[in-house]
């Protein structure tokens, strides 16, 4: 059966398209922008973010070439810091992502992803996927200084296996 051609005037059809478009756009924005129940986004935060960006750390603090070493017990921290400083011959490179994040790996996955900084409860800072701060696949940034940052995986299993990471800036 041949469908009946739309006999409505062009102006009406254009109006319908415009209406559909005007309905779809806010829905789309709501879908990736969250609703009123989401926490407010700090300046520079993404409209689609599910957690606010931290106010005191920018992604530029993470971008660069880093020597990386890890430890499990506090007694090994000092020598692990020294090891991290000596690992610049095989640095871990953190680049800017195309969005507001940085390109890094998550635990047990050789692919690079764009991860973003997220402010969490209690003044904690996390780095991870577009998910609430403190998600199991996040890293918690324990400290960020110009020449060194310290991080650990939130997931207790990954943290137990890999320990606390020290990133020492190269160059």
């Amino acid at each position: 059966m041949i469908p009946r051609p739309d006999s409505r005037p062009i102006a009406t059809r254009l109006s319908l398209i415009t209406s559909a478009c005007s309905l779809a756009l806010p829905l789309l924005l709501a879908g990736c922008g969250g609703g009123e129940s989401l926490p407010p986004i700090a300046s520079g935060g993404a409209p689609g973010a599910s957690a606010p960006a931290p106010a005191n750390i920018s992604r530029d603090a993470l971008v660069g070439r880093w020597g990386v070493a890890s430890f499990h017990t506090e007694k090994d921290r000092k020598r692990t810091e020294a090891e991290a400083r000596s690992q610049c011959k095989q640095p871990y490179v953190i680049a800017k992502g195309s969005g507001d994040g940085v390109m890094m790996h998550v635990a047990d996955d050789p692919k690079l992803y764009e991860l973003r900084l997220k402010a969490g409860p209690g003044g904690k800072t996390y780095l991870g996927f577009e998910a609430p701060a403190g998600d199991p696949q996040d890293r918690e940034l324990l400290s960020v200084k110009p020449k060194e940052f310290v991080a650990r995986f939130v997931d207790p299993d990954a943290n137990a296996r890999y320990g606390t990471f020290i990133y020492s800036r190269c160059g």
């Binding site: 398209i17 409209p47 020598r79 871990y92 692919k111 992803y113 296996r161 890999y162 320990g163």
Partner: protein, 209 residues
């Protein structure tokens, strides 16, 4: 379709696409399903956890006293790679036997060396080829339960090879290492206490009668 309608749809579509692109541009990636499911290959030995007490308790790879004909002095360590066994000669035709994991094809070797150094919970530096496969690994991991070197290490002469523990006791009996010999953590701790520095270690790839 009328040109005006096509133009309207195009404008709407472009608007949606632009917003989608903008949303993608301005935010981090959503979590990919693969990142949630992916696990490590058993042969890649990054930081799994094995307790210090883990031993092989059943089967041929369990630590046990066996008959062993040898002219070597008591205390000598003899490794039979093909059999996946390490023997500590006891004398009187007996030896204490441990199940081991050995080098995969192309990574086996033989020779005679001495234990040059011993370490508890040794540090670990993933080799470059492992870092290529698993770029998320630290370049140095201080000794600990997640360290693939395990609870103890016996360094073999001036070689890069060691007899060490493992965070993957399920690999005992397999040929997957890069030339080192691995024991379950409880077994390497037992061996560590029996073997002093200077101990003669004989590595045989094929069994000799």
């Amino acid at each position: 379709m009328n040109h005006a309608i096509r133009t309207g749809l195009l404008v709407c579509g472009l608007g949606l696409a632009s917003l989608l692109a903008l949303a993608g541009f301005a935010s981090a990636q959503p979590r990919p399903p693969a990142a949630m499911q992916e696990t490590m290959d058993i042969g890649d030995e990054p930081g799994r956890v094995s307790s210090e007490e883990a031993t092989i308790t059943d089967g041929p790879y369990a630590r046990q006293m066996v008959l062993f004909r040898s002219n070597e002095a008591p205390g000598t360590v003899v490794i039979h790679s093909a059999e996946r066994f390490l023997y500590v000669v006891q004398g009187n035709g007996r030896a204490l036997r441990y199940g081991i994991g050995v080098g995969r094809e192309g990574f086996t070797w033989s020779g005679q060396v001495q234990v040059s150094r011993k370490a508890e919970w040794p540090d670990w530096r993933p080799p470059p080829e492992m870092l290529q496969r698993q770029p998320y690994l630290p370049r140095f991991m201080a000794g600990g339960p997640g360290n693939p070197m395990g609870a103890r290490a016996l360094y073999l002469g001036s070689t890069v090879f060691r007899i060490h523990g493992t965070n993957q006791p399920e690999t005992i009996g397999q040929a997957i290492s890069s030339g080192c010999f691995r024991l379950a953590n409880g077994d390497i701790a037992d061996l560590y206490d029996r073997v002093p520095i200077g101990t003669k270690v004989i590595i045989r790839h094929k069994t000799t009668l």
